[in-house]
Amino acid sequence: MTTTLPADAKAPDERLLHASPLHRFLGRPELGSVIGAVAVFLFFALIADSFLSSLDTVLYAASTIGIMAVPVALLMIGGEFDLSAGVLVTSAALTSTMFAYEMTANVWVGVLVSLLVTLAIGFFNGFMLIRTGLPSFIITLGTYLMLWGANIGLTKRIQGTVSTNAIDDMQGFESARVLFASSLDIGSFKLRVTILWWLALVALATWILLRTRWGNWIFAVGGNKNAARAVGVPVHRTKIGLYLGVAVAAWISGQHLLFSFSGVVQSAEGRGLELHYIAAAVIGGCLLTGGYGSAIGAAIGALIFGMAKQGIVYAQWDSDWFWFFLGAMLLLATILNSWVRKRAEAAR
């Protein structure tokens, strides 16, 4: 049958239709998570007395996950995982404090060396991925275990114990602390600097995703790598770039870890956090298969995570059940997310 359908002459091509702002909003990946976040917020605001008066603590908890969730979300949109992200944070902190201590260097030197080392590890992840063609799951699982061991092994070898020496009496500590671990009292609201880092990263990542060529490349490599390459997207550079992004965020988080606690870093820390980052990204609407998601969604995912985690304590629920409650809250929020998104898509 080659006859054309009797088209209504007055109806324009649907691709040329001007979408109303409401429709555009309903099509965003973060829509469902916004509803989930509002639901979790209202829930705890109603049942937990001190939840509303302690939003600064909630935001702080969300920001420590959120700083990492943003680049992890970008990576997942690009179709890859990074299981080493959690321990990489600890590696970054250990490098700064041990370099500064052992060299009796200004703390800032340690901080910069740490950035280079962290970037090198991120580059290694990306490079191994494109060179071997193995799934990123297995490559970064390897780096995760290697880093975990190296964190403990090197710390023990260099400083003799498994947690590092304090560096808070060294030059540059105070100024670096202002950048990575300070807080500002605005009335009774304690604005932690991590919240600013978090917001800045979300803004930067959103700009990259939606306004730059890089953003198109990220969606393209996550959607279909081969098709992307065929239309001239530099797949390798994009993927390495995404791993470098995770490395930079791990560096920021690592410096926060270090400067919050006078430079004493416990070398075995960080295990399991990579799943929290991935969870935040998925709650925020990223697909595990890549090609779809947003940085704002990941930030909202981190916010849901932070609200649930803190809310359980504010509500004074039985602490033995903490992890059960947390898991249940996250599952419920995510189910609500996807339900809302499906309804919204159907309504369009």
Partner: protein
């Protein structure tokens, strides 16, 4: 195109490296760091001339745990003195720990030191060692099972007793409401510590579960608890790393609560000195490692049993601000 891009990135890299070296050259710290480290004097010394023997230790420690690091320091010191080859292995999984003990039985070492945090799982492995004629000393937790399984003696701290000591100390300080921070759920030793506090403390005690994998998480968890309940006047943490986070959380929440902790490290000693921590319970891990090796050496060379087969208690010792200056010297060296 590719070449020019490569040349460009090489140049960028070179510039970055040069800049870094310049910063490094100018960026020395006049205070703190390695240069300020005192030479605390070696702990070497003469040894004995008894025949070389192999002693293995198998613990339930997670990798990179400060506490077990100190236990090992003690063992190594005793091993150096007693002409002993000290072997160490650990696993947090009980079946794996039992397998490790079996490995050392097969290796026919001269003595085995083992922890009984998960007693039932270790029972057959310890029996196998004893049946093979290898003397076994148990350390840390599990005192009540040591004799039953055929070990020579037990060197450690009763976790419940340590908790009770904390409860009494809190009473003496006139505290009313305490929160006990559990950083690893399902760890029997930690639960026993909190239960011990509950036993003797005349005020009320609540447990708080936090995510021990990350210190910022621990911090925000404790802070939330303090904000949720303003009547909490003491926080009890169960290891030294969590104590630092609790001190931070208290400041951030603007709480007046006192913070006390189990176990020591350098930061705890410092915080005791400055008064941020009110007291710490030391179970002297160094002593547990040291005495266990010494015990096996004594048994092998002279048939002695320290404590005559009774449990040898290494704790709880309560340390406060007054003890801090002495303590700092030792904690920095990783031996207390």
């Amino acid at each position: 195109m590719a070449r020019s891009r490569m040349a460009r990135s090489t140049r960028v890299f070179a510039a970055a490296a040069t800049a870094l070296l310049a910063v490094a050259a100018a960026g020395c710290s006049d205070s703190g760091g390695k240069d300020a480290e005192e030479n605390d004097g070696g702990t070497g010394g003469g040894g004995v001339n008894t025949p070389r023997m192999e002693i293995a230790m198998v613990t339930h420690s997670a990798p990179g745990d400060t506490f077990w690091d100190i236990v090992q320091s003690g063992s190594k010191q005793a091993a150096a003195k007693d002409n002993v080859e000290f072997l160490y292995a650990n696993s947090e999984k009980d079946d794996e720990q039992a397998r490790l003990v079996q490995t050392f039985v097969d290796k026919k070492v001269d003595g085995i030191i083992v922890t009984l945090a998960k007693p039932e799982a270790m029972k057959s492995a310890v029996r196998a060692a004893v049946d093979a004629g290898i003397p076994v000393v148990t350390i840390n937790s599990g005192a009540e099972y040591s004799e039953e399984y055929g070990a020579l003696s037990h060197i450690g701290q009763e976790e419940t007793v340590a908790g009770e000591a904390v409860g009494e100390e809190l009473n003496e300080r006139g505290r009313k409401k305490a929160v006990c921070v559990v950083h690893e759920q399902g760890n029997v030793g930690l639960e026993q510590r909190c239960a011990g506090v509950k036993e003797t403390f005349s005020g009320s005690v609540e447990n708080l579960t936090v995510d021990g994998a990350s210190k910022p998480n621990v911090l925000s968890g404790i802070q939330a608890e303090l904000e949720a309940d303003g009547s909490i006047d003491s926080v009890v943490t169960l290891n030294a790393d969590v104590a630092a986070a609790a001190v931070e959380a208290k400041g951030a929440a603007g709480s007046e609560a006192e913070v006390a902790t189990f176990d020591l490290n350098g930061a705890v000693a410092k915080a005791l000195e400055s008064g941020e921590l009110t007291f710490a319970v030391d179970q002297q891990p160094y002593l547990q490692g040291y005495l266990a090796v010494d015990e096996l050496w004594l048994y092998k060379t002279n048939g002695n049993v320290i404590g005559g087969g009774q449990t040898v208690l290494t704790g709880p010792a309560i340390v406060t601000q007054e003890d801090a200056p002495e303590l700092k010297k030792f904690t920095e060296r990783g031996t207390r």
